[in-house]
C-alpha cells in the first residue's frame, strides 16, 4: 500500500464497514475471536476455539474466521479489537471478562460492527451483546459427586478471581457437597490467574498437603489434574473442557463449556438479518453447559444421583440455589423454597453459610 493511498484506503475501510448493514442480512460474515490464552490450553480458550470451528463447519465459505490468542486484558486488547474492526470483521467475540471496557470502548467507535462479550455485564452501545453460561449448574453436579467421593471429608477449590462468576460456582459446589455429605469441609485457594499452569499446580499441591482429596478448579489449564494424578486417591474434574486425557487418572467428570450453539446462532442471525442485541445466559437446558462423562471410579448409585440432578436442572424442576440458604455470617439470603434471582447471582459477593475463610477484599 502506497503512502498516498493511505487516506483513500482509510475511507474505503470505513465505507466497507458501514456498508455492511445487518437488517437485510449478509452474503458473507467475517467472524473474529479474541482469546485470553493459547488455543492449546486444553480448557477455556480451547473450548471457545471449538465454538469458532463449529461456526466454520456450519456455514462453510459463507464465513471467514479470524482469531488472536493470548491477548492481554487492557490496552493491548483495545488495539487488537480496533485492528480487527478496521480489518473488516463483522462480528467480534471477546472471550474473557477483562475485555469488558476495551470491548465497549471500541464498539462505540465502530457502530456497524457487532461485539459479543463473554461473561460481562456492560452493554454501553446497542452493538454490544453479552453472553455467559450458567456454570453454577454444573458445579452443583460436581459438588454432589465431591461430597459422596471424599474420604477425608476435605474438598478443595482452586479459584481464579473473586468475581461473582467464580463465587457462585464455589457456593453451588459447596451447597451440594454439603447436602451429599454433611461432614464436608471446603478449602478455597485463590490463584489470581485464569491461566498459569505453574501457579495452578502449586495451588493443587497446597490443597493436597492439607489432606484434600477432591479438587475442583476454576482456572483454565489441566495442571491441577496433572498435579492430582501424582497422589494416589486424589480426584478432580475437567474444567471448561472435558479433559478426557485424564479420565484414566484423577478426572471423574467435567464441566464442558459448549459455545458452539451460541456462536452458530449469532453468526447465523447476522447472515439472515435477524440479529439483535442480546444478554444471553443459558445453562444445562440450553446445551451451553455439558456434564462430561462420569467415570467408573464413581459408584453406580452416585453416578445415577448425579445424572438425576443434572436432568432435574435441565428440566427446570430444580434450581441449584433453592432456599433456605443463609449467608456466611448467618443472615438469611433465600427463604424456604425461594430460588435465587439472577441479579443476586450476577452480583454475588458473599459465601454461603458453612464455608470457612474470607473472599479476598
Amino acid at each position: 500500500m502506497k503512502r498516498r493511498n493511505l487516506l483513500a484506503s482509510a475511507a474505503m475501510g470505513l465505507l466497507l464497514a458501514s456498508g455492511a448493514s445487518f437488517a437485510q442480512g449478509m452474503d458473507k460474515v467475517k467472524a473474529c475471536f479474541v482469546y485470553v490464552g493459547p488455543i492449546g490450553d486444553g480448557g477455556w480458550t480451547y473450548q471457545h476455539h471449538q465454538g469458532a470451528l463449529d461456526v466454520q463447519k456450519t456455514f462453510g465459505d459463507k464465513v471467514e474466521i479470524q482469531y488472536q490468542e493470548s491477548v492481554p486484558e487492557g490496552a493491548d486488547a483495545e488495539r487488537v479489537l480496533t485492528q480487527m474492526a478496521l480489518g473488516g470483521c463483522n462480528i467480534i467475540f471477546t472471550t474473557s471478562f477483562g475485555y469488558m471496557d476495551a470491548t465497549n470502548a471500541v464498539a462505540a467507535k465502530f457502530p456497524d460492527v457487532k461485539f459479543e462479550h463473554a461473561t460481562g455485564f456492560k452493554r454501553d452501545s446497542d452493538n454490544v451483546s453479552t453472553y455467559n453460561a450458567r456454570f453454577y449448574e454444573g458445579r452443583a453436579v460436581q459438588g454432589h459427586i465431591a461430597g459422596k467421593m471424599t474420604k477425608s471429608n476435605k474438598i478443595g477449590y482452586i479459584a481464579s478471581f473473586p468475581i461473582p462468576e467464580v463465587i457462585m460456582g464455589i457456593n453451588s459446589y459447596y451447597l451440594h457437597a454439603k447436602k451429599a455429605n454433611p461432614a464436608v469441609e471446603l478449602s478455597v485457594v485463590w490463584a489470581f490467574t485464569w491461566f498459569d499452569p505453574a501457579k495452578e499446580a502449586d495451588a493443587a499441591k497446597a490443597l493436597i498437603d492439607q489432606g484434600v482429596d477432591v479438587i475442583a478448579a476454576h482456572t483454565d489449564s489441566t495442571a491441577p489434574l496433572a498435579e492430582a494424578a501424582k497422589t494416589e486417591g486424589v480426584i478432580g474434574f475437567g474444567q471448561a473442557s472435558d479433559m478426557a486425557a485424564y479420565a484414566d487418572g484423577p478426572r471423574v467428570s467435567s464441566i464442558i463449556d459448549n459455545w458452539g450453539p451460541y456462536y452458530v446462532k449469532r453468526v447465523g442471525a447476522l447472515l439472515d438479518g435477524t440479529y439483535a442485541q442480546a444478554d444471553a445466559w443459558e445453562g444445562i437446558a440450553g446445551g451451553e453447559v455439558l456434564i462430561g462423562d462420569i467415570t467408573d471410579k464413581v459408584p453406580a448409585d452416585v453416578k445415577a444421583e448425579a445424572e438425576a440432578l443434572r436432568d432435574s436442572i435441565a428440566a427446570g424442576t430444580y434450581h441449584p440455589f433453592t432456599g433456605p440458604i443463609n449467608k456466611q455470617d448467618g443472615s438469611p439470603w433465600l427463604a424456604e423454597g425461594a430460588t435465587a434471582p439472577d441479579g443476586d447471582l450476577l452480583g454475588m459477593n458473599f459465601y454461603v453459610e458453612g464455608i470457612v475463610g474470607d473472599i479476598p477484599q
Binding site: M1, Q66, Q68, E69, E73, G74, R79, D101, G347, M348
Partner: protein, 359 residues
Amino acid sequence: MFRLEKRPTPSKFWLYATPPVAVILTMIAGGILFAAMGKNPFEVIRTIFWDPIFGEFAFYLRGQLLVKAGPLILIAIGLALGFRAGIWNIGAEGQYIMGAIVGAGVGLAVFPTESRWIFPVMVVAGAFGGWAWAMIPAILKTRFNTNEILVSLMLVYVAETILAKASTGFLKNPEGMGFPGSRNFSSYPAAQNAELIAGSGLHWGGVAALVTGVLAYILLTRHQAGFQIKLAGQAPRAARFHGVNPARLVVMCMGISGALAGLAGLFEVTGPAGQISIDFNTGYGFTAIIVAFLGRLNPLGIVLAGFLMALTYVGGEMAATNLGLPDAAIQVFQGMLLFFLLAVDVLTNYRFRLAVGAH
C-alpha cells in the same frame, strides 16, 4: 580454525553495526521459521515491519507504535544509566506496578474532585512510588551488600501481589458490582492521561519518553554525574580514585530507573490501560531490558530501539490475526532478536582470527 581474539579497544564499527545486523539476521532466521510453518515468509516479515508504518491501517497503527514504545523507552533509559555503571536493576516491572498503584491511588483518593492540579500531583506520586520501590534493593545493597539483581527481581512478585490486592481490595471500584479493578480513569477527566492530539496515540507518557531521552543524553555526555556513571562501569578502581562514591552512585542509578519506571506505570494506568487491574502489567519492565541493550545503552539509540520493539509487538499482532500465526511464533521471533543481538555483540569486543601454527 578460527579463534576469538579480544580487541585492544571495542570496535566503533560493530558498536553501531550490531543492531541492524541483528535485525537482518532475525528476519532471515524468522523467515525460515515462518516458512517451516507453511506461511509465506516475505508476507509475514512485511506484515510485521512494513504494514504498521506504511500499510493500509497505518493511520491508526503508527499512533499505537507510540503508545507501545513510550513506556519501553522511558523504562529502558533509566535502566541503561544503571547498566552503564554496572548496577543491575532487573525489577523495573515491579517499580512500574508500584508507580501505577501509588499514582492512581492518589488520584482515586480525591475522586471526584476536579482540579487541574490532580494529574501533576499524580505524576509526582507515580515517580515516587517507583523510586521508593527501587530504594529497597538500593539500600539493601549499600548497607548489607545484597545482590540488587535478585532483590529487585523478587520484588516484582511482591509488587504483583500488591497489585492483585489493590484491584480486589483497597482500590476496587465501589461501583463495579464486586468485580476486581479500579475506577476507569477515562471517566475521570482531571486524572486522565488522554491523547494530546486525538487519534495520534501521543499522550504525556510519549512526551516524557522523548524528553527523557534528550535529557539522559545530555547527562551522559555533558554532566559530571554522567561521567561518573561511565567511569564506574568501565574502570571501577579508577572511579574510586576519582572520588566517585559507589554507594551514592547505586542510590542515584536505582532511584532514577525506579522513578522513570514508576512514571511509565502512572502514564499507562491513567492512559491506555485506564484502570488498575490484576493483569495491569504486561511485561514492559522486562522487555525494556532488551530495549536498553538493543539501543546500545545510549539514550538516543534506546528511542530508536523502543520503536523497533513496538513494531515487533504491533506488527506481530497483525501477523497473528491476519495470517493466523500462533502467538508463540511471534514470541520466538522477538526472542531471536535478543539472541542475535548478543551473538553479534561479541564482535564489538572480539574479532575472529585465523588460528595459525600451534599454541
